[in-house]
Symmetry: C2
Subunit: 352 residues, 2 copies
DNA sequence: TTGTACGCGTTATCAG
DNA sequence: CTGATAACGCGTACAA
């Protein structure tokens, strides 16, 4: 009963007095085999507790059925949700998902790419870090002919596909919503300019103001980290100005929360005096007593679609790199923090 | 310049007119090699953009430097934080982390184990699902001699290690805290009895009541899912009773939140009339206007320690399965929802 | 339909 | 110190 050592196709072939090749064929739905031996092999394989060695398989085929996902931090709701989407789409097809974190450091991103490349993954999903400047590491991926899909935070690339949301439009709609609430002096908490998502959000904000003939004021455009503290600080600075804002559109939810906390401390009424809307639709925004309006990025869907793009890529002609840019529609969630009419909308989902 | 095809040690050996074996030695810090050729090999390897093929390496050595992590859902804060801990501890040692989700379904757990086993991982980290009954799949892992570490949600096992928090004590301290606040009629929202973590929390609650000579009432022990809705429902049912509770200790934060929402709707004052404390210290608990008290499970640390236990295991004698049960101390976070004295503690961290 | 023989890229063993 | 060779487990032309 000491069948503890790994059982291989050779063990099966010996037991059955057939060749290992035949066993292999039986196990791989190869047509060139009689039903009889095929069934026999499958049966005894099961009996002997045979499990295929994917390593050997991969070495032969060049495919590992592993993909790598690179994100800044895996325990941030947005990223873990995207990863969940990827995993759920890919695992039924036999793929495994390897995760890597950059901690927003470019050097780690490079290291991760190298590590994934030499561990022979079949594809890479990446959301670049705030400090990523050049694209030498992405070039390496290109050279290795490994499919790569950007999601959310992408680099401009003429060859690689990407899945993002329409940040411009999300921001435009959020700003327009504030304008519709009667706000005229709208502050924007601007995210890191190194990332396209944040410049796009800024542009959407600007476009909405222009469209409604509102002035664009430099002093109302504040660079703010996506942290509670940064939001608090920004508000405390802003409220020292003579001209007070009547709304805040933040590029992140945490800074929106910080803003709200500070506004309350200052005795400013929300939403009657100031409306606030964030971005990302973090879980906490809906749980607050005063629900925070936000723009949802549909992370689960983003992950699933990124995975689908990857799978399509595999089917396509390898020579001709088919590149696909998917842009998802963001969803606006209007809650208390920006809802002056106090209509019951906190649960309502406004599909764009 | 068409050096695009994968370059192997043979390519290097040809170029240098030496054997592949020598190249291999040079690249692996093998002592049996002259410094001169070693440096030469390393230099040309770099020039030729050589990257080791980990697949071949793994096939030879039997080690893949991949580990698998199995959790119910990866985008739940607790789990993604543990995974982050594991990744951060293991990736500097060259390991990759593969993630799998069970969706709380036993069948998926079995499937995931099988998949990981045949993809030849070096170890498995698992938090079992609510519906996991027997342990046949864990036996398979044992047979394959693959190290396995339970974290948080474990099965009793005489051979496998585990890293958990002291759920009993966490619950005991939470309950004791409520008692110290003057509460005498304390409800417990009890989690799924299939999981040890929840029965332990229940026992901790019970022990605290006993210790302070408070009666244990069946009607105050309510099975509640860890969802907002379940918490709401439980409170609406409870407040139909003649005897109203004056505190709730919930085994989960979401149901604690639901309870608070429902209590407010009923016009019940928190914490003066009813104190509430949850479990898990989900991020939202600290962000609420009325901060929710909770028990922190130190997920990041749990992940790191699980990884360390795994690494220790590798060093130990393979024959003798060294089994280690690590129990971490939970941390109580007292916030508004259970702080009658209104002392500023919302930020204070009470280390146990 | 089945068997033989080789290669995937490395490393370890054994000579030299 | 270096080279030749086998082996890890599998899949697949090619031959039978």
């Amino acid at each position: 009963m000491n069948e503890n050592e790994k059982v291989t196709i050779y063990d099966i072939s010996e037991r059955l007095n057939i060749s290992a090749a035949t066993v292999s064929r039986a196990l791989n739905n190869n047509p060139k085999i009689s039903l009889k031996t095929k069934e026999l092999v499958i049966k005894t394989a099961k009996e002997m507790n045979y499990i295929q060695n994917r390593l050997a398989q991969s070495l032969k085929s060049g495919k590992t059925f592993n993909v790598g996902v690179i994100v800044p931090y895996i325990n941030r709701n947005f990223f873990s949700s995207v990863i969940r989407g990827i995993e759920e789409e890919l695992s039924p097809r036999g793929y495994h998902v390897i995760i890597c974190q950059t901690h927003e450091k470019f050097e780690n991103e490079v290291r991760n790419i190298d590590a994934l490349l030499n561990t022979q993954i079949d594809g890479i999903f990446i959301s670049i870090s705030k400090t990523t400047k050049d694209n030498g590491h992405i070039q390496k991926v290109l050279n290795s002919k490994t499919p790569l899909i950007f999601f959310d935070r992408k680099q401009d690339s003429p060859v690689f596909s990407s899945v993002t949301i329409d940040d411009f439009n999300g921001a435009y709609l959020a700003t327009e919503h504030l304008i519709n609430q009667g706000c005229r002096k709208i502050v924007h908490f601007k995210g890191d300019s190194n990332l396209e998502i944040y410049t796009k959000r800024y542009e959407g904000y600007e476009a909405a103001l222009k469209k409604y003939n509102l002035p664009i004021k430099k002093k109302f455009i504040i660079p703010v980290d996506s942290t509670v503290e940064a939001g608090q600080l920004a508000v405390s600075q802003l409220w020292k100005l003579k001209e007070k804002p009547d709304a805040i559109f933040s590029a992140g939810d945490y800074s929106a929360l910080g803003a709200i906390q500070e506004l309350k401390k200052l005795g400013v009424k929300i939403p009657s005096e100031v409306c606030v809307i964030g971005f990302s639709n973090e879980p906490f925004t809906q749980h607050m007593e005063l629900g925070i309006s936000s723009v949802d990025q549909t992370p689960l869907e983003m992950g699933k679609i990124a995975a689908q793009v990857f799978l399509e890529q595999l089917l396509g002609d390898k020579k001709l790199t088919i590149q696909k840019k998917v842009v998802l529609a963001p969803e606006l969630y209007i809650r208390d923090s920006s809802n002056k009419s106090q209509v019951e909308t906190s649960k309502r989902k406004v599909r764009i």
